[in-house]
Symmetry: C2
Subunit: 311 residues, 2 copies
Amino acid sequence: MKYAVGIDVGGTSVKLGLVSVEGEITEMWEIPTRTEDGGKNILPDIASSVKSKMSEKGLADDIVGAGIGLPGPVDDEGVIRKAVNLHWERTFNVADELSGLLDGMVVKAGNDANVAALGEYWQGAGKDYGDMVMVTLGTGIGGGIIHHGQIYAGTTGAGGEIGHICLEPDEKIHCNCGNTGCFEQYASATGIVRLAKEELGASTEESVLRQEEITAKAVWDAVRDGDSTAIRIADRFGYYLGWGLSIIAGVVNPEVFVLGGGVSKAGDIILPFVRKNFDKHAFHACRDAQIVIATLGNSAGTLGAAKMVIN
Amino acid sequence: MKYAVGIDVGGTSVKLGLVSVEGEITEMWEIPTRTEDGGKNILPDIASSVKSKMSEKGLADDIVGAGIGLPGPVDDEGVIRKAVNLHWERTFNVADELSGLLDGMVVKAGNDANVAALGEYWQGAGKDYGDMVMVTLGTGIGGGIIHHGQIYAGTTGAGGEIGHICLEPDEKIHCNCGNTGCFEQYASATGIVRLAKEELGASTEESVLRQEEITAKAVWDAVRDGDSTAIRIADRFGYYLGWGLSIIAGVVNPEVFVLGGGVSKAGDIILPFVRKNFDKHAFHACRDAQIVIATLGNSAGTLGAAKMVIN
């Protein structure tokens, strides 16, 4: 059996995995992400960890390559422009640099959200579909477009960076990106908490949400219990997420949207709220797109990274 | 020299061209589009016209294939679902059918807006760029995405059909598509006339636009003359077009937007109105996209159709 190495680089730790060309993770391990000194040790640390695992397992001739997902924009050639969380300030070709450290191994690099999308497409919720858009609903909204089985990186590696499309130009509150009215100001975990606070402030109706810290999870739990304030919050969240997805459908016409990230842990309960608004606003030719929940969790990044070098 | 046949099918006439593999149109001709009887003669008419041209020119061995652009959604395989203007109601593979009528010639088919985008990418305003989005501003808004030099057709052939992304969910007036608040309700030729009427109704300020029939051309001519009402109209048009393009940039991160269609005949004067709003709303990683005016006019369709079969 041949294997690829899948590498998922975060700001705190790097997850590595041996992935068979058939899509099974046979081994996973982690190393810390050493961000000091401008993050200069990160790639050498990864290379030496990959080499020792290969020698430990006697896999010298059985590795087809390594794929690496990174928290920053990466273009088709493997060039990263900046990765704040890794303390990388320069623009350089990560794939080439890691390949050099791995004695010429085939290496491909991608943005972490795009790489996770590829993982879900290969082995997760997108498995039975063609073109796919993954939407990661966490603190912000990340995304990745898979077209003809490949990551759509875009010109500067920002393809599928849908969290900052502007839905409300008149919004007064600024997004972290500096603009106003960004998609992720409404439809992320942070967004749903904000919508919840607004909704709770707008009425005095009893709600279980008045008794606890408001989180995305608390809102969905309350929806499940039939709390009417929570249902109104879910409606507003669904309004923004469904509308946003309908816009994305009108641009890239995917066969499926896969919803991942923390918010999606609430599961299928969020889907009707999204679907209703998607159907209302989507152009008829794009309206057949399915909307489903991601299935791979954290292993999407490892699998997708490996898939970049598996044909 | 080798040639391809470029075929651009409209509801009234079919434009055909012989295009050298280097991108020069050496001959153009037209035949009527016979839409009667469910449009059953359209493809046979095209095939027989292509064959007689080939025999007239003695090109039997010099044709690499034929590309055909059609007014309807066409997927990557050449399947068209419906083409109202051609009276085609069935779903079938146009490329295969035309190829059969042309004795097995290589044939590829695409949506007309996507094909025109490929033409501008190959020989027009998109020539010096990578990933491109063409935006055709006519009665409605059409569009085409070129990614890695290829048409991005999408799952049902509606990729780049950006005219119906919803910008104003609260709009009361319905779009032709049945939804409300579509991009083309504001930023098309029809949209600018509507914005003009609203703006003229909202004040009694003198304007040259009060003396004539309001068209997109009249508005831009008045802008050029410094008419302050016209400038306010252009501002509102630019607000919608710039905002809409910023959203598309946030999805597919192109290197360039090429503006074509009737409205773009006004030329560079429209660009500052669009650019200002694009820059305001675009995510910083996508903000470097250029916005330029199409250069090929009607020949974009012929060139793009031919390009589909030229490597």
